[in-house]
């Protein structure tokens, strides 16, 4: 098998996949959940329950009415305490439905058996898209873009190939890895459903070669699934980035500011493919996901199957509690994850992992003068000049930022990871992106 990878930039941080050997464990249902209404890269959904309502597992509680929005379902059964602002991973209060758990009472029609259902013959394209939409499925790789929108190919564009992202290039995270090992068949059926929904006959599952067991496992299964192939990829961060994955697998470059469909590709995460299987074949909306909990100082690491809305503190309790020397708790991976200011933040659809860093790891080193080594430019997977963009943003030259393609930045953090002067490059670039985004919007209006 030949290994492929993307050519421009990239880094190789230590992998730290300490939880790779831990089988997926079922997390007990908490006593209370808070389910945010905005778990999507788009318009938050509108609550359709109120205080005192009884809800069941899988019941719709938030309606996504805008085009780019997603449905929200209850992950537990019980009584709605209130609909109120709850701090999410960004630290801001966002609307969420708080539910006090009573029993585990599922809505009718959800098939809870683990029996594999491979029959997708009767499904039509519109059935699939409708089902994915009504099940509230969003991209589970972390970007949380509504999945049904991705399947609706815009006029004038043609989808040629479906790419399934099993790269998991972030250090520490192993939730996708475990999913591929333990839910391989389901994932492949989900992949076929997505192919049908998209109207393509070809799918490639991209997996980095630090997960050889997952590659071998899926490769042993694909004989029954025509059109699907496995592409082993050479380990390199940020290969899980949509544009990098497309470049690695089919050697096409998505132009600046355009979507993957421009080059005939649609990318979905392995977790999304599995959620699609459950939604379409088992009628189960997206109310659970796999979350890795890891950290050097933790007693143990784990991969949990968690109900959406479970407070992160419970996951940490389950692996032995927060260590004494904890400095930072991160939702997501160490390269792109968000540092949390509270452990009461709930697990949401986009939570791929919880990472605990000790005080020493959490501390940023003091920035010194840029020595103009150019390493940030060499590692940028988008071919940008991070040192220059950071400088432009610092001095508020936003039109300069735009000209130097600041909006192409995927915020992978490779520049800052590499910078020998510990310069906060990405901090400035993010500021610049926000301002340039405002400029661009004001021009449109």
């Amino acid at each position: 098998m030949t290994l492929k990878t993307f050519k421009l930039g990239g880094i190789h941080p230590p992998e730290h996949k300490i939880s790779a050997g831990k089988a997926i464990e079922l997390m007990p249902i908490p006593t209370q959940v808070s389910i945010p209404l905005g778990q999507v890269l788009g318009v938050p959904s509108i609550p359709i329950v109120k205080r005192g309502d009884q809800v069941q597992v899988g019941q719709l509680i938030g309606k996504g009415e805008a085009f780019i929005s997603a449905q929200v379902h209850s992950s537990v059964s019980g009584k709605v305490l209130k609909v109120d602002g709850v701090p999410d991973s960004s630290g801001y209060r966002r609307n969420a439905v708080l539910i006090e758990v009573e029993g585990d009472d599922w809505t009718d029609g959800i098939d809870r058996s683990t029996e594999l259902n491979r029959n997708i013959r009767e499904l039509t394209q519109s059935d699939i898209i409708e089902k994915i939409k009504s099940s509230g499925i969003v991209g589970l790789g972390g970007a949380t873009f509504p999945s049904h929108v991705k399947l609706m190919v815009p006029k004038g564009k043609v989808a040629e190939v479906l790419l399934i992202n099993g790269v998991e290039c972030e250090p520490y995270l192993t939730s996708d890895h475990r999913l591929m090992l333990e839910r391989g068949e389901e994932l492949l059926v989900g992949c076929q459903i997505l192919m049908k929904g998209l109207g393509v006959d070809r799918a490639i599952i991209g997996i980095e070669n630090n997960k050889m067991d997952a590659i071998d496992h899926l490769a042993s299964l694909i004989a029954d699934y025509p059109g699907i192939s496995i592409q082993a990829l050479k380990v390199q961060y940020p290969q899980g980035g949509e544009k990098q994955l497309i470049k690695a697998c089919i050697n096409r470059e998505v132009p600046s500011g355009k979507l993957p469909i421009e080059v005939g590709a649609v990318v979905n995460n392995v977790g999304t493919a599995f959620a699609v299987y459950e939604a379409v074949q088992k009628n189960k909306p997206l109310i659970e996901r796999i979350v890795t909990v890891a950290g050097k100082s933790l007693m143990e690491s784990a991969n949990f199957q968690v109900r959406i809305g479970t407070p992160i503190s419970q996951l940490i309790e389950k692996v032995g509690g927060l260590p004494e020397d904890t400095g930072k708790v991160i939702s997501g991976g160490p390269m792109m994850g968000k540092a949390l200011n509270s452990l009461e933040v709930p697990v949401v659809k986009g939570t791929s992992g919880i990472l605990i860093m000790n005080a020493k790891e959490a501390k940023r080193s003091r920035a010194v003068n840029c020595i103009r080594c150019g390493k940030c430019t060499a590692v940028c997977p988008m071919g940008l000049e991070p040192f220059y963009l950071a400088q432009l943003a610092k001095y508020e030259d936003y039109s300069g930022c735009e000209k130097n393609r600041i909006m192409d930045c995927i915020e992978c953090g490779s520049c800052m990871y590499t910078c020998p002067s510990y310069r906060p490059l990405l901090d400035y670039i993010r500021l610049g992106k926000t301002q340039v985004g405002k400029l661009m919007r004001s021009r449109q209006n």
Binding site: L8, I11, P13, G91, K243, N251, R252, E253, V254, P255, S256, K258, V263, G264, G321, L322, E324, T326, G327, I330, P334, M335, M336, G337, K338, A339, L340, N341, L343, L355, M357, A359, A362, K363, S365, V368, N369, I371, R372, C373, G374, T377, A378, P381, M382, G383, L384, E385, F387, Y388, R405, D408, G413, M416, Y417, T418, C419, P420, S421, L426
Partner: protein, 334 residues
Amino acid sequence: MSGNILTVSPSPHMHGNQNVPKIMWGVIYAMIPALLVSIYFFGLEALRVTLIAVAACVLFEFLIQKYLIKGMTTIGDGSAIITGILIAFNVPSDLPWWIVIIGSLVAIGMGKMSFGGLGKNPFNPALVGRVFLLISFPVQMTSWPVVNPLFSGKLVDASTGPTPLAIMKEGLANGETVTALKTQIPEYMDLLMGNMGGSLGEVSAIALFLGALFMLFRKIISWHIPVSYIASVIIFSGILWLINPEQYVDPLFHLITGGLMLGVFFMATDMVTSPMAGKGQIIFGLGCGVLTILIRVFGAYPEGVSFAILIMNAFVPLINRGFKPVRFGEKINI
């Protein structure tokens, strides 16, 4: 729940293991083979000059940061030590101590600190110091002691002689042929090993190359500047040589004599004063090579490496502006 106070900061939450002191000390380690060879050929005088230059550079950096700028002192990052060693590599081994100290003051004070310290200087500080000395003390700076290897048993009075480049330049100017002049200079093998007159670090191409390999391996430098610099020297001097081999000396001679290897590997590749992206670095290297040969063949000085690099340093901002890296998605290959 424990009462931990959580740090909140934007991603990334990890950092690679590179930092400025590591890079600078890597460069220092890479210069050790060349330093040892120079001590072998020029004796303890070489060590004396190196120690004075390093001590002076570090001291001046410390004093300027502490008492003039009144800021944080950064002598621990090793960059002043590099400047010191490079100054020593660029002067004859019998240079009086006070000239070495003046050179160090100019390098650190004028070349580096006046611009704001490490990272801000447009010109390579060691070269600023060297060129200042060359112009201010032309006699002392161009009297090269004859090589007298340690333990060779020869007792030589401190005598001086011209460098191979100077022999060639003067001879050709007087109408002699390359073939005739070659009899007056050491064999190429000796030149390669460093057995020739010259400043400390100009001597052994092989020792310098070893250091460069180490820096390439540690990813302190990239291939772009050395390869393009050497290629442009070979091509440009090769064209002249092909036109008239008796008037213009062959490319190999240019490569292994004078300060070319030192310049290629240790001074043109200086991160601070070279372009940021690969394309620009290649342009920079090509420019250095052409200018070096232009000065060596047609200019007033026998050696042109320092001037070539300093001139190209001045073009770096322009190169950075004109040669952007390859952007992702600029060409769609279907």
